[in-house]
């Protein structure tokens, strides 16, 4: 499992540029499914036949937050635009890797010594630049092109019980679905496995994939934040914790999850002695929000993997939460839901 997580998180595939991760995931799932399709926007929609005749859509998004090259100046310094939700304050001194392999680091504009700290505190992407060590515009252009995509530089690290990498959001969801397919023989549900594009810029891929499938039930897999129970003086409005099991979504900014489905999932977890927690998140959203309002509506929830430092190069998860989520899903797909 850790090898799989390492392989998936080390691939750079920001929103809209998912070709590499799409290839890797397709290779992994092909032996275990009946059909693999790629739609117009680039979503993978895989199908595995079940015995019960109802459709369950499992979604994980395969894109990650990243950057787009917007400008190169005469001295070879590069300006980038954020793709997805970035905090500019986290950028200075971060390493960035471009689509065609160039590596650079972020720094910020600051002309007056007395304002050096203030400039940092108020930094925006307009005031951030990337240094790839090029001396001239032409040298920079030989390595990086306008419009080229980039991501954080990957640095996977296995810490034993915990694992740290960029793009856990949401390669961990992708890894869980792949592992589920490896373990699960015949599901009750007809499974539609969606690896969605462009979640980070506005739930784009899940919208069209769900429209095409129009499932009876849907579960999105994504990451969620942790707070005061998990970190020294962590956020007080966030009770989730690493190691307490998958978090069943109750609400976030994109969705009020279906209460009946949540109850059924919690029951399933209890029957099989799988730990779980609930998630009430005051911000953020997942593909579940887009799937829920498809056509006449879809019974939808999200299972979240508690993750520290989301949208940074150091996203950290607990491997037990991952195993427990796979376990829980393997029971869910075998048992009809009755509201």
């Amino acid at each position: 499992m850790k090898n799989l997580i390492q392989q998936l998180t080390e691939i750079s595939s920001p929103s809209g540029r998912e070709q590499n991760i799409r290839q890797a995931i397709t290779d992994h799932i092909r032996p275990y499914v009946d059909q693999v399709q790629v739609d117009a926007l680039g979503n993978i929609i895989a199908y595995k036949k079940g015995s019960g005749g109802k459709k369950l859509l499992l979604d994980a998004h395969m894109d990650e937050i990243g950057f787009m090259v917007s400008h190169i100046d005469d001295h070879g310094f590069i300006r980038v635009e954020p793709v997805g939700g970035h905090m500019p304050l986290r950028m200075p001194n971060q390493r960035i890797r471009f689509e065609h392999g160039a590596i650079g680091c972020f720094f910020y504009e600051s002309e007056e010594l007395s304002k050096h700290l203030a400039d940092y505190q108020q930094v925006t992407f307009d005031r951030l630049f990337v240094d790839i060590g090029a001396g001239t515009k032409n040298e920079a252009l030989s390595r990086v092109r306008i419009g080229e995509s980039a991501t954080f530089h990957p640095l996977f690290h296995d810490m034993g019980g915990k694992v740290m990498a960029k793009a856990m959001d949401d390669r961990i969801g992708c890894a869980i679905i792949i592992e589920l397919l490896r373990q699960c023989s015949t599901p009750w549900y007809d499974l539609y496995l969606v690896f969605a594009v462009q979640e980070e810029v506005g739930l784009v891929g899940a919208t069209t994939a769900a429209y095409g499938v129009h499932p009876d039930l849907a579960i999105a897999l994504d990451v969620t934040s942790t707070g005061f129970r998990d970190l020294p003086k962590g956020l007080k409005r966030i009770p989730m914790k690493l190691g307490d099991g998958p978090a069943i979504k109750i609400q976030d900014r994109s969705m009020i999850a279906d209460a009946r489905l949540n109850q059924w999932i919690a029951q399933t977890a209890e029957e099989h002695h799988i730990p779980y927690q609930y998630e009430v998140l005051p911000f953020g959203g997942t593909d579940g929000g887009a799937i829920q309002t498809t056509k006449t509506g879809v019974i939808t929830t999200t299972l979240s993997i508690p993750t520290r430092y989301i949208h940074s190069p150091c996203e950290m998860i607990d491997i037990n939460d991952v195993h427990h989520t796979v376990q829980l899903l393997s029971h869910i797909v075998k048992k009809p839901f009755d509201s």
């Binding site: 809209g16 117009a40 793709v83 784009v204």
Partner: protein, 347 residues
Amino acid sequence: MVIRTLSNLPGVSGHEEPVREYLWEESRAFIDNHWIDSMGNLILLKKGTSCSKKVMMLAHMDEVGLMVRHIEKKGTIRFSTLGGIEPSVLAAKPVIIHGKENIPGVIGMKPIHLQAPEEIKSPLKKDSLYIDTGHASDEELKRLTQPGDPITFDTPFAPLGQLWKGKAFDDRAGCAILLETLKMNIQPAYDTFFVFCVQEEVGLRGSRIAAQRIEPDLAFVFEGTTACDIPLVDPHRWTTQLGQGPAFTIAHHGLVFQASILQSLSTLAQENQIPFQWKQKIAGGNDSTPISKAGVGCITGSISLPVRYIHSPASLMSPKDYEATLRLSELILRKQSNFFTHDGRLS
């Protein structure tokens, strides 16, 4: 001149009728079928040699403007903005209220002499502005206009140096390009839907239902976009520059454009010596987002004419960009098969 006429026509979001009527009259001789839907989108079909694919070419008819909110006893009019307008560009500008008849007015404000020192220093607030039509009471005015009536800037189209000056280039420029392309009477390879849509400026709403109706395989959005190539601003914030040709969007709010469409567009332009530029910032969004997300999704390209001082009473654009965009638009229609591989998939 098509762009002159279109720029001068009034058509804020929800009140696009004058623009639609003009476009319909001008284009009706060149099309095979047409629809006007419940929100007022004008959808025109130009049949292709094959009906196996559907291509959509879209521009929005609406412009930003104001809306009558309340008519006060002493004859002044309070308004809301309709679309993203900074109050700072409104002070002391001429406008036209489109009620039962056209009522000219000016946006009034307190003279600088009477402003408190802190008022002088702080940006204008929308609530401190009002429209003065010269009417001394609400009696006459209430017969001519009512809350909800649209208001446009009164800025006649005219050349300005090497450029054009006018209101509503966002997106009458796109409408003009598509109308002129349509009138070339080219038969495309595939069924092509020219869509002049409503309500882009209030949430990208018209294009959404048009795309849900058509469910195209491939779509092109023709837009007026921000150009900020002025000396006050560092070049990396310019977004686009006037005179450098149409701008192709790589990513904007809510959507990253597919690498394949960017490749096809830039190759088409290069092979035909048409200048183009990349839109350099993600700022803003357009109809491409709801179109891409409609139904099971489609591939979309966004081609924009750079416009300085967009969403203000007086914007500027370059005739050179217009010419280049028109040539590109013609080529997109003539060479539709460039965008598909030989086995009919999108390349």
